[in-house]
Symmetry: C2
Subunit: 324 residues, 2 copies
């Protein structure tokens, strides 16, 4: 059954059933002109749009995982503020010839990711389009929000997890659909198709006052670090040998460092730490997979130093550009 045969009303009814949950802070959910919720005093708001063939390939992305990712990329922004996500709205533009089963699985994925994060889906909109387009908006609460603009010279630069995996996964998926890939590189495909927002880590770092600045790695280390430096009016020196690269990426890629620097969509956290808080962060490093990769410097430039200490300027690369 394709959506065109189901009709708008039935589609909305299905979404409403899939998303309608009772929660004490949701006074009015899907089904009125607007949702009505109990709003936190310090309200975070973020929105992301995903466009077929630009931000994802429909044939390569299982709908359940696409539903998860559409929400999780927004939750990653909330994580980067050290916030707790609360509510989500989902705008969907869908071709009439898409299968109803696709929408079913997409909704299941979205709902699953929402439940995991404690997010209530409270509203949305539906339109038609020749390509799938997904617009998600998430609200959150931030008691001690961490900005991009808080880094100072001398601060340590940390990242969570390993970098470049999602970019490696994207290459694998584009090569062959990503399904039957060899087990050792499967984590790369998973990192790309089903990234996890670092909500607990972000909230922990913010809550304990450990991060002086924070951003999520959506565009790649070189780009996102440049954002932090620009907003903070500082520079940085990154040690290439310290950048965490997974075993899977080393096996798969000829240029793992390039992917770790310029690959996007890792959705790990990049944050800076005052010298007097470093010991506290180091105590968390093993459990939370945190790696110190460099240090904030005066001046505005970002340098990359190799193992011999030779420096070069790290230019924002970014594996995807608006200008395509």
């Amino acid at each position: 059954m394709r959506l065109r045969h189901l009709g708008e009303r039935a589609v909305i009814e299905r979404l409403r059933r899939a998303f309608g949950e009772r929660r004490s802070d949701v006074l009015l959910g899907i089904g009125d002109d607007a949702a009505l919720v109990r709003g936190p005093r310090r309200l975070l708001l973020t929105t992301d749009i995903l466009v077929e063939d630009e931000d994802f390939i429909l044939a390569d992305h299982p709908p359940r995982l696409l539903g998860r990712k559409a929400l999780n990329v927004n939750l990653s922004d909330i994580a980067a503020m050290g916030g707790r996500p609360r509510h989500a709205l989902v705008g969907l533009a869908l071709p009439g010839d898409i299968e109803a089963a696709w929408l079913q699985r997409f909704s299941e994925g979205l709902r699953g990711a929402a439940r995991e994060a404690g997010v209530a889906l409270v509203g949305g909109d539906l339109s038609q389009a020749s390509k799938v387009m997904i617009a998600v908006t998430v609200t959150g609460e931030a008691k001690r929000p961490v900005r991009r603009a808080g880094a100072r010279p001398g601060d340590a630069v940390y990242v969570s997890g390993t970098l470049g995996d999602a970019a490696g996964g994207l290459r694998l998926v584009r090569k062959g659909g990503g399904r039957g890939v060899a087990k050792p590189v499967r984590p790369l495909v998973e990192a790309f198709l089903d990234p996890a927002p670092r909500l607990k880590l972000g909230s922990l770092l913010a809550g304990r006052g450990l991060a002086s600045a924070m951003i999520d790695l959506s565009d790649g280390l070189s780009v996102d670090l440049a954002h932090v430096c620009e907003e903070s009016g500082v520079g940085a020196e990154i040690e290439a040998g310290r950048i965490p690269i997974s075993e899977a990426l080393r096996r798969f890629a000829l240029d793992p460092l390039a992917l770790a620097l310029d690959g996007g969509e890792d959705f790990e956290l990049l944050f800076t730490v005052r010298p007097d808080r470093e010991a506290a962060v180091e105590a968390l490093a093993r459990r939370w997979k945190l790696t110190r990769i460099g240090r904030i410097t005066p001046g505005r430039r970002v340098y990359l130093a190799d193992v011999r200490g030779r420096r070069k300027v790290l230019r924002p690369g970014g594996f995807e550009h608006f200008a395509g």
Copy 2:
């Protein structure tokens, strides 16, 4: 200059300059991972997506007016809850070959509509697409929100303004671009290209406790009244002769009543009023262009009565369907 030559960075910088305003309730605007605002306790949330060739025709819609409309259709949802709008987020997917001047004028329109309504533009996202896609999310505050589900048998049914004008305007625009149309029908084109959200009226009706149920007329009277009846578990009887139709629509259309019943996008308010509040609403009727068009009934059906009192069932028509 086309967007592809401008680059993503420059586009975002332009949007940031266009939208960045200082306001005491905006703690962090565009430029961080998420916006941070002072949230109202009773928070309204609504989102709408507009897709080129489905919801608007790029060549027919002046970019400044499209920018206004993209925000105003959301503000209309806030108006229908009796709320006051506060913040907006804008997701844009744009083709690389669109003119930078188009984006400039679109942004001006959006900003103008935001200023008129006291809305701060606090965030957004940008992607690429083969067609223009606009996703706007608006937050609002509702002290006494009015739901769709509050109508009771005996309540009067009111609408604001005149109905069917936007549908007439759509026809005119599709015929010839809408520019050089004759003066008497120009209000129709304006109603379609540049609809006004009824924020003051919605807030007045809610604040004085005059509306028992309310919805904005986005899909057309027959569809939107059916929503109110369904949610309230009631029926209605509408008098065809009372439906407010403009002089311009009577001149232009052979079937003004059909457009008034099934035409969408008027963005007027449809609301119900308890008998003991009718006098208070009548006192506002002239100034706010309010018309009583019928009454809520028990049962679930919606009837349309002609001037001789003959009744027929009013089926939800809707001039645009998901199934196309």
